[in-house]
Symmetry: C2
Subunit: 467 residues, 2 copies
């Protein structure tokens, strides 16, 4: 997202915070240019888990993506977003019989089978319904070439069928006449930032596909290479070299077509498609000092954007944050942007220098904003409104002074933002979602309200003696 602060504040208009803001035009350009550059044998499926907004999912469909779902609930959202059933892939280690039955009845594009047990269930369900089902086998390969930090395969995992169990799988498949075998899927890791590792993993999967085809005599209609394309969140992370990934992937597609004519290569992607065109936006309610430390209390926090807190993070860096101020009665704003490392317990001169450097880095990374190195910075923590020390979304960062009413925006929040957060914790309204597309800011999710908390709940009559 490369809109400057002034432009952003104009787009935010009078929409009350907190909200997620998506730059639909940036998303459109980003995804359509990716699709345009891919070999015709490569298809991209949007992993709906990254962001379950129906309008965003619809936009990605209209650009030309298929979709990948992980539950019957996500199937429903995908249908509402206008996806054809045959463009839907269904993965997940814990599909229930009810979910499988429904997917089969819908004529789903492909089910990624994650165990021999599930294969048998598919056959039983399809046979009983008098239907057929397209299925691929998710394989947990023997080797792990991905170098991924968050490994999905190559190590003991609940996902897929071990490569060493394939003999058994294909033997059982022979007795499953209602299952149309489509091919294999391998998903080795997520949030990968090294192009060579991704390509090595893809190549490994394609070799595995050839071995499976040769060894078990099954035709390979699709080879699902997984995805895992990462986005940089921190200044110490280098963006993924997508030119290199695309060139390498296209070359692999060309080779593969000559050896497995008619095969389609599938890429699944959630984070890479949507993360960078979204931001979480809240506002400063109060500023305060406690025992020598400065705090800004914002109107949203971990309840809406849990990923910005430090829960479970290996590297406890702060996410980059943008502070924007709207002057009363005029459109003058300050452009300030900063990203800071946690742990600068005392703002030393050295830390300040590092901060200015990272200001420069991030500024150039997300849109060429000038680093205002001359501006006085102060050490501040930004917390949300919850009554827990966990609700800290920026910890002891060097930032320009924040005033009440300032917008506090977290870029790169388009993926694993709202859907990943404990929305009802402490009972605040769920955030809105705004999609800025072709000149109009659409409210694609309205702010929640307090009756949401009572949805599906029921009082009980209390016995008289209790009353």
């Amino acid at each position: 997202m490369d809109k400057k602060d002034e432009a952003l504040l104009e787009r935010f208009g009078e929409h009350p915070t907190p909200f997620y803001y998506y730059d639909g035009d940036a998303l459109y350009t980003h995804v359509s240019s990716l699709l345009a550059r891919l070999h015709p044998a490569v298809r991209v499926h949007y992993a709906l888990k990254a962001n379950g907004n129906v309008a965003l999912a619809g936009l990605l469909r209209s650009i030309g993506c298929g979709v990948e779902i992980a539950s019957a609930g996500e199937m429903f959202v995908a249908m509402e977003a206008g996806y054809a059933a045959e463009d839907v892939l269904y993965a997940g280690p814990g599909k229930t019989v009810a979910e499988l039955s429904e997917a089969i009845a819908c004529g789903i594009g492909c089910i990624h089978v994650e165990s021999v047990r599930e294969l048998r269930q598919l056959e039983d369900i399809a046979a009983q319904a008098g239907l057929f089902v397209r299925a691929a086998v998710r394989i947990n390969p023997d080797n792990d070439l991905s170098g991924a930090t968050i490994k999905m395969g190559g190590v003991p995992r609940p996902f897929g069928v071990d490569e060493g169990q394939l003999d058994h799988f294909f033997k059982v498949l022979e007795g499953c006449p209602h299952v149309y075998f489509q091919g294999i899927q391998v998903y080795t890791g997520t949030q990968m930032l090294k192009a060579d590792q991704i390509l090595a993993s893809f190549e490994n999967t394609l070799q595995l596909a050839e071995r499976v085809q040769a060894q078990y005599g099954v035709a390979m209609h699709t080879v699902n290479l997984g995805g895992g394309f990462g986005v940089p969140y921190f200044t110490h992370e280098q963006p993924l070299d997508m030119d290199h990934v695309i060139d390498g992937l296209n070359a692999l597609a060309e080779q593969t077509r000559s050896r497995m004519p008619g095969v389609t290569l599938i890429i699944e992607s959630g984070r890479y498609l949507v993360a960078q065109s979204g931001m979480y936006v809240c506002r400063a309610l109060y500023t305060k000092e406690s025992k020598g430390e400065k705090f800004v209390v914002a109107d949203g926090g971990m309840n809406h954007y849990a990923a910005a807190t430090f829960r479970g993070r290996r590297i406890r860096d702060n996410y980059p944050v943008r502070i924007m101020r709207r002057q009363a009665g005029e459109q003058e704003e300050r452009e300030v942007e900063a990203t800071l490392r946690m742990g600068q317990r005392n703002a030393s001169a050295q830390a300040a220098v590092a901060v200015e450097q990272s200001l420069g880095e991030v500024a150039s990374q997300i849109g060429g904003l000038p680093a205002e190195a001359s501006m006085e910075l102060e050490t501040v923590s930004i917390v949300g409104p919850l009554c827990t020390p966990e609700d800290c979304i920026v910890k002891k960062a060097q930032l320009p002074p924040i005033h009440e009413g300032d917008y506090i925006a977290f870029p790169n929040a388009g993926a694993y933002g709202l859907s990943y957060s404990p929305l009802h914790f402490l009972g605040h309204a769920t955030p809105a979602e705004l999609l800025d597309f072709r000149g109009e800011v659409h409210v694609i999710r309205e702010h929640g309200n307090r009756t949401d908390l009572l949805h599906h709940q029921r009082m009980i009559p209390l016995p008289e003696d209790v009353m």
Copy 2:
């Protein structure tokens, strides 16, 4: 909760998993016996953030608790649960003007003011509405005697007014004729398990109250001592000695009444009141092996009970888990219970012994079930249905063999369970909540459904050229 497996399975009946199950009778006994033992000057307020179920909150009201809320949304739930406005306390570092206005208009019992800024806002709002508001000041004391792991005060925090800023606070208060000063509140920490530390913290708060009364000439109607009564989750934790806490608290109340006649001491408690009477219950969908490790895939996981995962935990122990099996066509069950430490990467003989010991410990702790030390244990991880390695709710624990359909229950899940979890992540239905009270199992929250995912969402018309 001390129901045996057989009794529990009978109560679960045909309710589909996953669900939260609350033993309302145990809750009633637990809370009413606590209240009965407290000095008449002590009042207990239920911290609704621990569990926002309206029926549970109603039950606690009927037993005699007040309530403590942290948002306008929670105020709404409290009202629906039948609390009188004057029995509601409102705390939180980020209250908005809209929320404060509403609370004042309702005639709320007391607002805990967390900054001088908020005090001024209260006065402005009340004056403008021609109303009066009862308020207490939340103080972040100079010293920290609590020894709490999760500190809420005594250190730099966004919560409350530093003790060193009280001069300024009370000076401003003099110019706030619409604010009726009630007293002070100090909340130093949560999940405390040492009685002496809790009592030292209470005593410290009472001394602070006397100093404030003397120094600023304000009458002290309430002294809110906070809470933080912990519950043991792991075998290495000793339960809080509540006899000692109650005796000490009652003695403090008696002394305080002589020095500040008419004062009410307030205890806030969420976790201690409700945690131990709730359990999260899911079932095994599949069992599988991957590269030599055993996995059980359950029908629920981090999306419903995030606390059982290892996110952000300092001590990465597994929570205790109960495995229960219902035999087809009969009511014969196996009683098995186990708690295990994480990190037993290889099941060694030593680990097995430790396991049997903790089996015994936990068994006696939650209900006297016999440890079946003779049963063969195996190393297994239990995962939920989500497509992420994060969705691991039991990691490499020593457990008896788990079969498909077995119930997997996490005791002590009555607090910070459902409300703390990213319910919509990957689109599975939200869990039900069952309240077992006086012979009837009430559905106090129905299972969610897929339309929940689209609640408040809107599609946008996509431009023709995009279609």
